[in-house]
Every structure is written in structure tokens, then in C-alpha cells.
Amino acid sequence: MSLELAVALLALLVAAFALVALVAVYARVRALEAARRIGLSGYGAVVGRPAPASVHPGPGRRRGYVAVLDAECALCHVVWEALAPLADDGVRVVALVDRPEAFAAHPGSELLADPAARAELFEGYAPTVLRLDAAGTVVDRTFVDADTDLAGLLHAGSPA
């Protein structure tokens, strides 16, 4: 192999490596941009993401409500009493609670003690009400406090 041929091959190798590196950097930048569209780092939102399967509305239902409740919180019981009657053939109502026996049972509505689902949906505050579409994606979330128009929230199906 002549010296000229060796230098040419080396140059070709360096050029190929530079091209691969450029493509890799471009792909990484695009991936980061795509990730940014999904959500801010450190603020991964619950809204817009699929809820855990255990609380999905299920086949044939048009939407679902999920309430994250604590037995020790008085307002949580008020929210449950307002939310539970909304359950019907088209709407699934689930409360993710720490102690199901502390809440009043309502036919058609479900009290679940599912720590994994609760951890996924708990945002540091109870009571929180989430609305799910038919596919089980969280479409909105409301932190309920004493000033929240609970009736408006539940019957309009949108956050106050």
C-alpha cells in the first residue's frame, strides 16, 4: 500500500467518523427537543399521561373520575360524597384511598387501596380529583380546597 493511498483511506475514515458523530448529535438534540415537548424535567405532569390501568374507565365507558383521598382529611370525605353518586354505566368513579374502611361505601363507585396507583397519581395533596377520558388518559386535575366549586367541577367536567 502506497503512502498516498494510506493517507486517503485515513482521511476517508476520519470523514466517516465525523459524519456519524454529526448525525448522532443531531439525533440527540431532536430527542431532547421532543422530550421538552412532553414535559419539563423535574415537573413530570400527571395530566396528559395514561393513568394506571387499575383506574381506567374500562370498555364502554366514556369517562372516569379518580379521587386521591386521605381518611384523616375531612374535606376528602366531602369530595367522596359529592363524587360517588356520579358513577353510572358511562362513568367510572374510583377513589384511591389509604384506608377504604374509613369511607362510606356507595353502590357503583369503588374505593381502592392501590399504593402503586396512588403513588403514581398523588401530587403531594389530597383531595385531588382527576378526570380521565375513555382511553384512560388524565385530561385534567384539580386540587380541591374549601374554595373550590365542587358541584361546578364535577358536573361541568372541567377544573374550577
Binding site: R36, G39, L40, G42, Y43, G124, R141, D147
Partner: protein
């Protein structure tokens, strides 16, 4: 600013104050002993962040105060809400784009920053990556995501009520503003009284009363600035003599931890 002077120190009748703990925006825990004479307080806070190409002030308040922005501050403002984990980012932009505000609304508190012009193209959301917001019933924390990029300063807790306004800062932050001379010795530290910045009309209303002054208490870890609301704020005078006020403020105490 002058050292407060007291003849006989009296404590007004009523239940003894109890220690409460608030969380400052920096995450510091602030234990407070607030005498009854100051009334019940709603807690606010303020903090600044500075770094390369960044200088931003946030005002923290109980949740819900941002609702006045589109009705009273920027009437007709456009509103955009982006749900985040544990909070919502709500962006308000004036109809003529002359001003805009970004509010982080948590379940208990909210943090607001103003842009003084049109909202950033991405609504300020990329800016939020530089901060970490965490809400708690005792106060929200807002800290830099990295201490290497942003420096947090100007952290203060602000208690507002009908009878008084109380500003609490770290003692080391307040030190440059304290007088060189000694104040009145009280159990929690030293107490001074200082002039208030009032209009001539308001000054005339409070002249010769306890409302003429603001009161500065500096302890080992915290400094407190107290203003008693009176006729200058459209309220009735507090009805205490200076000695009674100093007695009440002698029961005031704060400890800043962190």
C-alpha cells in the same frame, strides 16, 4: 432608627403566644412566636434569583391570589394554564402585551414572577427548569435546580393581617440594615424603632402614636420588621401605649433554621 426605650414593660392580657413554624422559600424552617396583639396573619414570601443572564424575583402568596390578575391587575389578560406535577404554571399576558406574569400554583401556595413586557415565546416554561417548586401547608419552597447556575437571595417571610405587617429575614441578611448602636434588650434580641416612609398627610395622622414607627427586632438567627396598622391605613388606632406595644414586641421571637 433609634433604640426603642421602655419604662415599665407590660404584656397585654390574653392567651400566651405559641410557637408556629413556617417554611421560607429557600426551604429554611422559621419558628415564630407572634404575640396576640399583632392579630392573625396570612403568610406571604419573597425571594430573588440571580445568575448568568438571569435576574428574577418571585412573590409567594396563599393559593388563589392570582385570580385577581385577569380581573384587576391586567383586565382582559390572556390566560394559559400548563399542568405540571404538584402545581400548575399559569401564564397571564396583557391584551396589549405590555406586561405578563407567570404563576406557579400549588395546592396551598403560589409563586408569581412578572416579566414587564410580552410573555416569553415558550410562556416562560423553559425558565422554570432552572427552579424547583415544592408546596407544603407551612409554606412553599422555590429553589434553584442547581446552585452553580443561580444564586438565591433576598429571602423574606411576610405576615400580613388587619393589625400588623411582619417581615422576617435571616439575621445575616438584615445585618447591613441594622443600626450600629445597641437597641433595647428584649428576650429575643435587640429592639429598635425606625421611621416609616409615609406621606405628609399620613405622617400627621400617626404623629405621636405608636403607629409613627416601625419596630425592628434582631435576634441571633432572624430579624423582624413590624409595622402596626393604624389611621394611616384607614384603621382605628391600636389603643395601646408605647410601653404596652414594647411589652408585646418583647414577646415576639423568631428562629431561622437553614
Amino acid at each position: 432608627m433609634t433604640a426603642a426605650t421602655a419604662g415599665g414593660v407590660e404584656t397585654p392580657a390574653g392567651a400566651p403566644p405559641v410557637w408556629t413554624t413556617r417554611v421560607a422559600p429557600s426551604g429554611a424552617r422559621v419558628a415564630l412566636l407572634v404575640p396576640e396583639v399583632l392579630g392573625s396573619l396570612r403568610w406571604y414570601a419573597s425571594t430573588r434569583f440571580t445568575g448568568p443572564r438571569t435576574a428574577r424575583q418571585f412573590f409567594l402568596a396563599p393559593r388563589g391570589e392570582h385570580r385577581v390578575i385577569p380581573t384587576h391587575v391586567l383586565p382582559g389578560a390572556r390566560e394559559r394554564r400548563v399542568p405540571l406535577r404538584g402545581a400548575d404554571a399559569v401564564l397571564f399576558e396583557a391584551a396589549d402585551r405590555s406586561d405578563s406574569a407567570l404563576v406557579l400554583v400549588g395546592p396551598h401556595h403560589e409563586a408569581t414572577t412578572w416579566f414587564g413586557g410580552p410573555a416569553p415565546a415558550d410562556g416562560g416554561l423553559s425558565m422554570l427548569e432552572a427552579f424547583r417548586f415544592a408546596d407544603d401547608p407551612a409554606g412553599a419552597t422555590l429553589v434553584p435546580a442547581s446552585d452553580l447556575l443561580l444564586r438565591q437571595s433576598g429571602v423574606s417571610l411576610i405576615g400580613r393581617g388587619d393589625r400588623a405587617t411582619l417581615v422576617v429575614r435571616r439575621a445575616v441578611d438584615a445585618l447591613p440594615t441594622l443600626p450600629e448602636w445597641a437597641g433595647l434588650r428584649v428576650p429575643a434580641g435587640e429592639l429598635w424603632r425606625a421611621d416609616r416612609l409615609l406621606s405628609d398627610t399620613a405622617s400627621a395622622l400617626v404623629s405621636g402614636t405608636v403607629h409613627q414607627w416601625r419596630y425592628v427586632l434582631a435576634g441571633q438567627s432572624a430579624a423582624l420588621d413590624v409595622v402596626l396598622h393604624g389611621p394611616e391605613s384607614g384603621r382605628a388606632p391600636i389603643g395601646l401605649t408605647e410601653d404596652q406595644v414594647l411589652g408585646a414586641l418583647g414577646a415576639l421571637d423568631a428562629a431561622w433554621v437553614g
